[in-house]
Symmetry: C2
Subunit: 413 residues, 2 copies
């Protein structure tokens, strides 16, 4: 069975994602589509609007055959580490090909750039260091260094988020030396950062989230998400009364920063260069997460980097713990859902897996399992109401979704 | 000027307290009454219903001349440490006499018991150890040991909370070897633990708090608190919309326990003998603080002991920090309020103080100041609403209340 891997967040799954799935399958002539999906918190340091279970269901209903979780240790990370984690998971599952969206839709420039950057690594590093000494953020410095280095070449633009991720997927395949091809699908219409939903049927996830959070309501995004996604979005807000936004977690974050000593904050992953004092200084002046982020922002750190730090504080993710998890091999792969095709595929590759494929977190042990369990509980806190504290245990005991090919009913394994 | 010290919580100040103040002044023929009052959290491990400023005002309006704060390191502690802290503060202020409430209203049995227990310390300690080996709590073991030791003597009953505190005040005077007399006022009518407010004009603070928290409303306690206390209680709920109860803090406590590792919980003061695992196990099953406490309670630990542990978790008070503060001399005494008589007194004793008398926390440094500042911020969290986040800074910058003798207006220093 030919397989293609996709790296996704589906926050939420929209028509652009559905189109990408079709194209990925077509381009690679794959029999099976494997998605590795961020769990509770996302690459940009935000909670996912809906839990991983609802998003996995969206994926299965949009044509994905297997959904596995990208562990928190990789999901809430800069592009380089995020991509490395995703490639580790897909490669462990024996995936032949990765397909990602890009602006141009041509794969060669990604390979070319990876080779070029490897060859020029030391001059690039020197140039980044020089740029950072002027006080700018790492991504900005990397971009400037890249421009300097690349001024006589006509290569890939790294100013687009999707190109950056694509570059890092190809680089991780090369760095990890895994037997996987990369291919790319040209993105249509909406740009990653677009903030308004138009009348067209494809809109960016950013613009969709904006509409959902500003209570323009589900109705306003009806034409840009598959019907199945729409139903799941509707059910979630009916069941739990809310989507997960940073504002719901802000009181806890504020409490935590007021409660912590500078040394405790310093132990948190990505709390560097005295940021702990800035966190403490600004937290009492803000009433909302957005307000706080605006106070916290400096030239040195990107908004996304600071949101990731906020997530790590909220979830108590320390430097020590993160280093322990990411410097080791994958402890397990967590299955979130599959259909019959996916099940066939997993049965075939099962014997060659380098780590356990687990159906429930309750079956895993070790630092990564503890981390994912703790984080799922913290993610669920805003769902606790009317004495339904059992929601906190939901993720720990949940079994993967099993979607039958010939009817719409899904069940648990 | 003859001075008498009282150790108080005033949660809230009621007619029984007002009576005690009159009697204390009369019995000791004192010119000035000095109250050392718990700040944000109380001996039983509960938040004070109203902030220290409102309770200090109640005290001044009921006849206290100087109100100083009992630091958190002593206020939320078992009777022995609580009493030691209070005596340290009063003695630093040069107080001649301490007066406390007791069931019998006679001081000699307290002195006798302190001498008797000193003489029999080693047999008592042995007996306590033997009792604890049966699995009971320390207070229960101490009581049983006391009964064994004391069976042929007719002395003070240590089964009354006020007698226990009184015993520890007298013991601390002796242990610390400070030149202070002790005297006692016989308590009238209400017992410490009484839970219902009757038609009589004196009710226990426990019953008053119960009426306030169960929304039987202020009106139901009108006849058992001075008019001035009543007004302050009324204003507080008008200004802030709430009194401080454990339930308001429970979501933060629950979040914190879900967020923490066992090792982090173990570092918290009073988290002993594997209690961290019991905390984690029970916290997901409870929707309210009361429910959680019921799940947490064992034969080994008293309710009060566990409430104090909950407070230390909420406030991030570690074993290390607590030991640092309590093993050192008092770092400062914080003045909360005074009247002109109090000011005169303080002017006289000022030059002999063994530590600074501070008017604002912003003027203090060191571990105890950091602790009191952090705790005041956490205490204020439930008051934050409608963007009034400045309430978090209230305690740090607040100056003592200055009450003029001849008019009712009060001002800040």
């Amino acid at each position: 069975m030919r397989s293609v891997g996709v790296v996704v967040e589906y926050n939420p799954l929209h028509n652009g994602h559905a189109y990408h799935l079709q194209e990925a399958r077509k381009i690679t002539e794959a029999d099976v589509v494997i998605a590795v999906m961020s769990g509770c918190f996302l690459q940009r340091g935000e909670p996912a609007l809906l839990s991983k279970w609802e998003r996995a269901k969206m994926a299965l209903l949009a044509g994905v055959d297997v959904v596995v979780e990208l562990p928190y240790a990789y999901s809430t990370q800069k592009a380089e580490v995020f991509a490395e984690g995703a490639i580790k998971v897909l490669s462990a599952l024996g995936v032949d090909n990765i397909n990602f969206g890009s602006e141009m839709g041509v794969i060669d420039p990604f390979y070319d750039l990876v080779s070029f950057m490897k060859m020029n690594k030391s001059s690039w590093d020197d140039q980044i260091k020089a740029e950072m000494d002027t006080g700018v953020s790492y991504p900005r410095a990397a971009m400037e260094a890249f421009k300097q280095l690349n001024q006589h070449e006509s290569t890939l633009s790294l100013s687009q988020p999707n190109n950056i991720l694509g570059y890092h997927y190809v680089k991780a395949i090369s760095d990890l030396n895994v037997p996987m091809d990369a291919s790319t699908t040209k993105r249509t219409v909406a740009q990653y950062h677009d903030i308004s939903v138009t009348t067209q049927s494809i809109a960016s996830a950013t613009s969709i989230r904006k509409n959902l959070s500003q209570h323009e309501g589900l109705q306003s995004i009806h034409h840009v998400v598959p019907k199945t996604s729409y139903q799941i979005l509707e059910e979630y807000v009916n069941d739990f009364g809310t989507y997960h936004t940073w504002e719901l977690y802000f009181p806890y974050l504020q409490y935590e920063i007021l409660r912590s000593t500078p040394a405790q904050l310093r132990s948190i992953y990505e709390c560097e260069e005295g940021l702990e004092f800035r966190l403490i200084e600004t937290i009492m002046q803000a009433s909302t997460f957005q307000e706080w982020m605006t106070l916290l922002k400096t030239k040195r750190y990107t908004w996304t980097r600071l949101q990731r730090l906020a997530t790590h504080i909220l979830t108590n993710t320390t430097k020590k713990e993160m280093s322990e998890v990411t410097s080791n091999d994958l402890a397990y792969i967590r299955l979130l859902g599959m259909n019959e095709t996916g099940q066939q595929y997993l049965n075939r590759v099962k014997k060659d897996l380098p780590c356990p494929l687990i159906s429930r977190l309750a079956k895993a042990e070790g630092t990564m399992a503890k981390m994912d369990d703790r984080i799922a509980k913290i993610y669920s806190i805003p769902l606790v109401k009317n004495n339904q504290h059992s929601v906190l245990k939901r993720d720990y005991t949940m079994s993967p979704i099993m979607k039958k090919n010939n009817n719409k009913e899904d069940s648990r394994l």
